[in-house]
Symmetry: C2
Subunit: 216 residues, 2 copies
């Protein structure tokens, strides 16, 4: 039999999965969701400020004001905490396939460029995306997590809408034009691209992205 734990905090020395339960029995559902959100918010901030390598589960726990065991309980390993954090940060970008779906296929290029620039022009969505890019470029584990999310949540869903041979490669070459534009405009900031009117960029990139998606 297993004993119910005494109420109140204990040292974070147990295995991860049962930690929250051991702390004070299973927490009420509302409080559980609240704690999980607080940890996730802290994780996003830590990964964003420090990058993947310098962030620790202990640091996330401290920022959230909880025991490290509780972070493990809700999310698992550091890699899994990162995946949960970037899935949330990446949520706006995951809407990209909808830009393809919401109209005729021959306007998909322009809708996708507009959607992509909209996400990057808005600091509230740009900042977490930049943090993901920084972690993915500098750490293999972070890159693998990002690769999995971008492949399953964005590229394959766009490809599925195309119904053409090489659909995945098409989606990726279209994404490459957009990703490279973001790198040069928002990260490296080369002029005149960095200051160009978004409408000019839409005009230049829409036919290129359309060509990748549905061209011969």
């Amino acid at each position: 039999m297993t004993d119910l734990p005494p109420d109140g905090p204990t040292a974070g020395n147990g295995t991860a999965s049962g930690a929250a339960a051991r702390r004070r029995g299973r927490p009420p559902r509302a409080e559980s969701a609240d704690t999980r959100d607080r940890i996730l918010t802290a994780a996003r901030e830590e990964f964003s400020e420090r990058g993947y390598e310098k962030t620790s589960v202990r640091g996330v726990a401290k920022a959230a004001g909880v025991d490290p065991a509780l972070v493990h309980h809700y999310f698992g390993t550091k890699e899994q905490v990162f995946e949960a954090a970037i899935t949330q940060s990446f949520a706006p970008a995951v809407e990209a396939p909808k830009a393809i779906e919401e109209g005729p296929l021959d306007g998909a290029g322009e809708r996708l460029v507009r959607f992509f620039l909209g996400v990057w022009e808005n600091p509230a969505t740009r900042t977490p995306l930049l943090a993901i890019v920084r972690s993915a470029v500098t750490n293999e584990t972070a890159a693998a997590v990002f690769r999995r999310i971008i492949a399953t949540q964005v590229l394959r869903r766009i490809a599925g809408r195309l119904d053409l041979p090489d659909a995945e490669l098409r989606a990726e070459l279209a994404a490459a034009q957009l990703v490279g534009t973001a790198m040069l405009r928002y990260v490296i900031k080369v002029e005149p691209l960095a200051s160009a009117d978004p409408e000019l960029i839409v005009a230049r990139l829409a036919p290129v992205v359309q060509g990748h998606l549905t061209g011969p």
Copy 2:
């Protein structure tokens, strides 16, 4: 008047510019070039392994087996050491404008894509480029140095060859397609792009890059 310094090493406490001269008078020219090369090699390795932020002039000096004052003497500040290091690492990429110049303008797109993939397919040139991208994405000062080099050494020279309105924006949007392809193929490694035959990528990207450079 200025006194000639005594021979032999002194503590690295002087100003940067005269440090080498003070150490043992002006070194013979061959030895000077050799020391400079050794520092530059050490700097490239340090920046590549640690990234811009974690690399210090002291660490570069230690790796090169010289006094930190000698690093300052030959290169100046950490930012200037970085600029010298990435200028050398970036040297293969700086040949890109030649790909435009070496033939008729209507084949420039294909030549540029072939050149770019050649640099990235070769591990000897890919590794230092990856190191630059990592530093530029994670540090503002490194990004500014990279921006200056890419703008003056590559983009403006390509633009100068085009003789068209918006030549710089054209060069940048072409570069964006290539940079994004490198990000997805070599850094994030999404499939099928990561394993695609380079000839297939040339076939898909050449008309796009040509369109950016010389299209309507």
